[in-house]
Structures are given as structure tokens and as C-alpha cells.
């Protein structure tokens, strides 16, 4: 049974809750594949996408997920470079609240912004990525993709490769994979590694070859190119040579290892084009699964999940 008002992060979810979402995403994915991609389930419910950061992929995914379930979806793109400019988040949230929003999906550059919003509004809040904190729906779709391909998580080794320091995708994936029983490795330059990451129960590698050896899944993170300007690594070229995933490196992983990437990709930087488009890549499948997982979340958050109702 789904009991949470909000979905703010994977860290606070139990393995049961994660599995509930993954299970509900299976029938949702069937709907996406039908000719008539619409069920009346959330008719009369409104889902507001409140995006303080540009995002095409996640916003469209949430929008379609809502529409396939017949919810009314509205996108609000707040174009501010500064978090202190203009109306406060709480005021914006309260405005949306009294307009009758049922669910607010928020993307924000400040870690913890969804928590602030959730504390002040009645509508349910879904975190669609906050700062360097969490991106729970991305991790859930990654988990769903892995589960579809591999069946289970126990005994799997998943390598997360790249800029762990700034990555909310990495954090959410680490929590989710660990809770479901997979072994997690992280790999990247030490200047892009968060402090104390070893305390999170992951193995830390600074050589990509070692990190890939025997891995079942490689999740490649997007490199934010502006990090280079801040001196966190010398050049994009060196990053690509030291850390980029190419065919030669993929071959070090287990045969048939899966390659994931949350997108959008910097082809030729963190991932080579032949790997991105290769047979082991599930990158396009992730996009489809993203819609299914978000449908499952919207469905669960609009009610819950009990087995049967007496007739």
C-alpha cells in the first residue's frame, strides 16, 4: 500500500516501496505500446510540472505520463538564473495549491527545494531532480530497465561512471540499487567524488578499467561541461580519454553487460557513439521506461495499492 504524501528521494523509500513502483510500471508500459495510449484513471486530476531548470526529457516524460492517465497536465517553466529573484518558491507553490493542483512535479537547482515545497502545500510533491541531491524518478526508471533486462538485483554489480560529486542521478541510483541488493561501484576522478562516499556502502574506483571488470551494468553519467571551467579536471579531452566509455572498455565488463545513460549525452565525451548506439545500450529503452515508471508513480500517489475490493 502506498502511504507517502510526497516522493522526495529514494533514500527514504523501503525496498518494498521501490518494488511496488517497479511492479506497477509493468502494466503501464503495456499502455504506452497500445494504439490508444490513454486510460481514464486520473480523469479530473491535475498534475503541475513546476520546472526551475530547463529539462525537455523529464518534463515531457511526466507530461505524457499524466496525459496517458487522463490527468490534466500543466507546465510551468520558471526562467530564473537566481533562486532569490522574483516570487518565492513557497508563494508560487501556494498559488498552484489553491488553484487545485493534486500533484506538483518540481525540478529545482537547489537541493532540498522539493522538501521546502512539500512542507508548505497540500498538493503532493514529486521531486523531478533537486540540485545535487536526488532524482528519484530517474533512478526508478534505471532500476526498472535493469530489472526488465536482468530479472533481479541480487548478485548484480552496477558501475556508475563519471561525475559522482554533482550527480543527483548517481545518488538516487546508489540508494536504490543498494536497497534492492545490487553491488554498487562508483568510478571517476577523485575531484568529482563526494566526500565520505565510502561510508555509503559503495566501492570507489579511480581507474575505469578496474571499475568495469565483471560489471553487469554500466550507468554512464552526463558530464556537465562547465565543471571543467571550475578546474575540477584539466580538459574535456583528458576526461574523455581517462573516463569515457568506449567499446574497448565495455568489453571489460561481463558479456552482455547493459549500458545506461540518463541523457542527454555528450557523445564522444563520457560515451563513445558506437557504445551509445550499440547492442548493449538500453538508452532508448530507458526513455520509454521513464514514462511507464512515472505513470506508476502518479497512479500510486493518487491513491495507493490494495489487492482487492469486495464485490
Amino acid at each position: 500500500m502506498w502511504k507517502r504524501k510526497d516522493l522526495l528521494g529514494i533514500k527514504e523509500l523501503s525496498a518494498d516501496e521501490i518494488n511496488q513502483i517497479l511492479d506497477q510500471a509493468v502494466p503501464m508500459k503495456d499502455i504506452i505500446k497500445r494504439d490508444i495510449k490513454k486510460v481514464p484513471t486520473l480523469r479530473g486530476k491535475s498534475v503541475i510540472n513546476l520546472f526551475y531548470e530547463p529539462s525537455t526529457r523529464t518534463r515531457t516524460s511526466f507530461e505524457l505520463a499524466g496525459k496517458y492517465l487522463s490527468a490534466d497536465t500543466v507546465n510551468i517553466a520558471v526562467s530564473t538564473s537566481s533562486v532569490v529573484k522574483g516570487e518565492t518558491l513557497i508563494d508560487t507553490g501556494k498559488t498552484i495549491d489553491v488553484m487545485g493542483a493534486d500533484i506538483v512535479v518540481i525540478r529545482h537547482q537547489a537541493s532540498g527545494a522539493p522538501h521546502l515545497l512539500a512542507k508548505h502545500i497540500k498538493a503532493k510533491v514529486i521531486n523531478a531532480g533537486d540540485g545535487a541531491h536526488e532524482h528519484p524518478t530517474q533512478a526508478l526508471l534505471d532500476l526498472f530497465t535493469i530489472k526488465e533486462a536482468k530479472g533481479a538485483f541480487e548478485g548484480l554489480t552496477v558501475t556508475i561512471l563519471g561525475d559522482i560529486l554533482h550527480s543527483r542521478v548517481a545518488r538516487s541510483n546508489i540508494w536504490g540499487l543498494s536497497k534492492l541488493g545490487a553491488k554498487v561501484r562508483v568510478a571517476g576522478p577523485s575531484t568529482l567524488m563526494p566526500p565520505g562516499i565510502k561510508e555509503w556502502g559503495v566501492e570507489v574506483y579511480h581507474r575505469v578499467e578496474e571499475a568495469l571488470e565483471g560489471a553487469d551494468v554500466v550507468n554512464v553519467l552526463r558530464l556537465q561541461l562547465e565543471r571543467q571551467q571550475k578546474g575540477l579536471f584539466p580538459t574535456i579531452r583528458e576526461y574523455a580519454r581517462q573516463w569515457g566509455l568506449n567499446a574497448r572498455r565495455v568489453a571489460l565488463a561481463k558479456p552482455g553487460a547493459l549500458v545506461l545513460h540518463p541523457g542527454p549525452m555528450n557523445r564522444g565525451v563520457e560515451i563513445s557513439p558506437d557504445v551509445a548506439d550499440g547492442l548493449q545500450s538500453l538508452i532508448t529503452e530507458q526513455v520509454t521506461n521513464g514514462v511507464a515508471v512515472r505513470m506508476a508513480i502518479l497512479y500510486l500517489m493518487s491513491g495507493g495499492g490494495v489487492a482487492d475490493v469486495p464485490r
Binding site: T88, I90, A110, S111, L116, G131, E134, R171, P194
Partner: protein, 429 residues
Amino acid sequence: MFLVKGGMLIDPAAGIKAVRDILLQDGRVVEIGEHLEIPEGAEVYDATGKLVTPGLIDVHVHLREPGLEAKETIASGTRAAAMGGFTAVCCMPNTNPVTDSLALVEAVQSIVRRDGAVRVFPIGSITKGSAGQELAEIGDMAQAGVRAVSDDGKPVSRAEIMRLALEYAKMFGVTVISHCEEQSLAGDGVMHYGPMSAMLGLKGIPAAAEEVMVARDIILAEASGARLHIAHISAKGSLELVRAAKARGVKVSCEVTPHHLSLSDEAVSGYSTSTKVNPPLRSLEHITALRQGLADGTIDCIATDHAPHTLEEKAVEFAAAPFGLVGLETAVPLILDMVRNNELDIERAVAALSSNPARIFGLPGGTLRPGSPADLTVIDPDLELVLKPEDLKSQGKNSPFLGMALIGFPVLTMVEGKVVMRDRNLLVD
């Protein structure tokens, strides 16, 4: 005449820890003794079962006036001080304008005369406008009674300016208070750099950001022979530097805040902006070191760094909120908690809250020896309260301790013989 009867007197400067009666008259302490006779017409305060201390002195508060009255005023801030048992506070110069000249010091002093509920000693700035470029008029300000200068809130980034400030302030017997933060290391961090910041996805301020500048300032103070006071020390490494410097005879002192002693960076986990403070709440390892440093005397003073902000300023995303929390009204229970847990002697606690600040900054009070000012605090060590925002007399409600059960509150605050707070009620209008 006023007689405080039957309380446990803790006066570290006088070496007293015993049940004593204290007789006060005309703003002075007249007599201390066992079972003093009640003089005719004297008002008696029964302090049986309570602690009686020299008036508490907070050497680090932000009263925000002039210029930032939406956050706090001298009236509201000194009332908060009275509730917290403080008879004197030293206010930081980062008002608007910055207190960097004689005229501005006198302006603050005149507002204090009109509105103040307790004694207020203004701290001047080190540099003009606290901009870190040119020295402020430290000599003039010293003549107006300023005992210390600080660019608190901002570090003095240029080492040469700090060297000059120490040399110059020394001539006037003025202590330089340093807010130690190497800005290229602190960056735009908002909490302690470590596993918690990594987990929360918030940018971290490493302990090294403080330690590097503590090292620099100790070296400069040693070279000049000037008096240096390190504000709100928070890192283990800083403490070791101070300990070693003191052992060499460097004229360095330091203070710690109650919140750095009692809260770790885990308090940030709900993104509550009242836990956003600079220096940041550190990890357990640092807290343990700070408690040790206070207990062994390496840390001289407990100061609150009382930093009120408006609700609106704090009701934003964590990264966007201003640093600071209000501490005047919760300091005593937080420190008594350490005493109850046998981590700190009560004498050491009172020394850090009263006699040491008085001695280091040359302020009146700090002891109740006969002849001293009648600045006195009575604390009920068993009084348990759960503070709500409306209970705070400070305009700032940005306290991480609201809603928590705290034990041990001041029940009497007397300034120069005048009772300003009695039984948790303010007696000033």
C-alpha cells in the same frame, strides 16, 4: 537594597562555589556571606536550589540596528539577552552602515541608552565598511570605548591588512576578533563539507577553510604581539592551532557557540534553514574536540553569535537562505546540558560565560566580589521549557531549538542593580 538568598553562588573569578547570600545596593555588590541578615527594607529573592552567577556576557551578537531593524533592534535584541540571562552583550559592527567610525559607535551607544535592556558594548569594524581594504578609525573608536574590532561575517582576506590591523589595534589595547574563513576554500558552500553535505547534495565548507586562516592569524598575532580573538571556532584543527599557540605564549583567545557544541551537520538533513549557519554545524568528530577544548580551557568564551533574520529571509531554499541562527535565549540550557552530562564543570561554564569575556575584553562584571557591579544572573537548573517562536523576545525566530524540551533557564537577570527579568518575565518596557 536587594538580597539574593540561599542560592549556589558560582563565581570562578573569586574562587567561590558555595551556598551564599548576596547583598546588593546602589548598583554594586555590597556583601557576600552565609545567612546574611535581611536589612530592613531590602527586597529578598529566594534563590534556594538555584544557581547564582555573575551576569553572563555574550561577546558575539548581532543586534542589526541601525539599518537592519526588520531582523532585530537594540530594544528586541537586548530583551532577548535579558531573557537569556545575559547582562552584557558585544554587538558586531555589520549593521548598515557598518560601525567603522567614532560617530557610528556613538550612534549605537545612544540607541543603547534609549532602548537597551542590558549593557551593550559595540565592536568596531577592522576595515572601512568591512570591505577588507583600508583600516577603519580604530583609534577614534577605542576612545569611544570600543574594546575590540572585527569584520565579522566576512574574513579579512588579505594577510597584509590583517597584519596591519593587529599592529595598529595593539597600540590602543584593542583586541582583533577574526572571523576565520578562507574564501577560496569555502566557496559557495552552505554546510559542513563531509558525508552529510554529499548526501544532501549541498555544497560543503571544509574545516580547512577555517583552519588555514586560524593558522595565518596566529602567525600574524605572534609576530606582532597583538591580541587576537578567534570568533566562533568550529573545527578540530583550529582548536589544535590555538592550543599550541597558547602554549607558546601567543596572545590568542577564542570562543565557541552553544550550537556548535550541541548540533552536528546531521541536523541539516531536513533542509531546515535555521540550521544554516557560518561556520557550519560540523561533524561529530569536531563537536567532540570542541567540547574537550571548552572543558580543558583552550576555549575561553562561550558566545552565541546570535544572528536574527526575518521569517521571509529564511523561508527559502537552503542554498538561498542567509547564514545565522538566534542563540541568546537558548544558550544557558544548552550549556547546562553539558554540565549535567559531566562533560563540563559548572565553574568552567560560568567562566566561559562571564569572567573570561570580562577579563579578555576588559568589560565590567564577570565577578560578584564586593564592590563589583551588581550584574547578576540566577538560573533555575531544573526549569524545563519547550520554546515556541512566540516565546522568543528576539525578532528572529530562526532557532533550530524551537519545539525541543530544554532544561535550565535563567529566572533573574539584574543589570547594575536593576532587575530586568524576573521569573521569566521582562521588567523593562
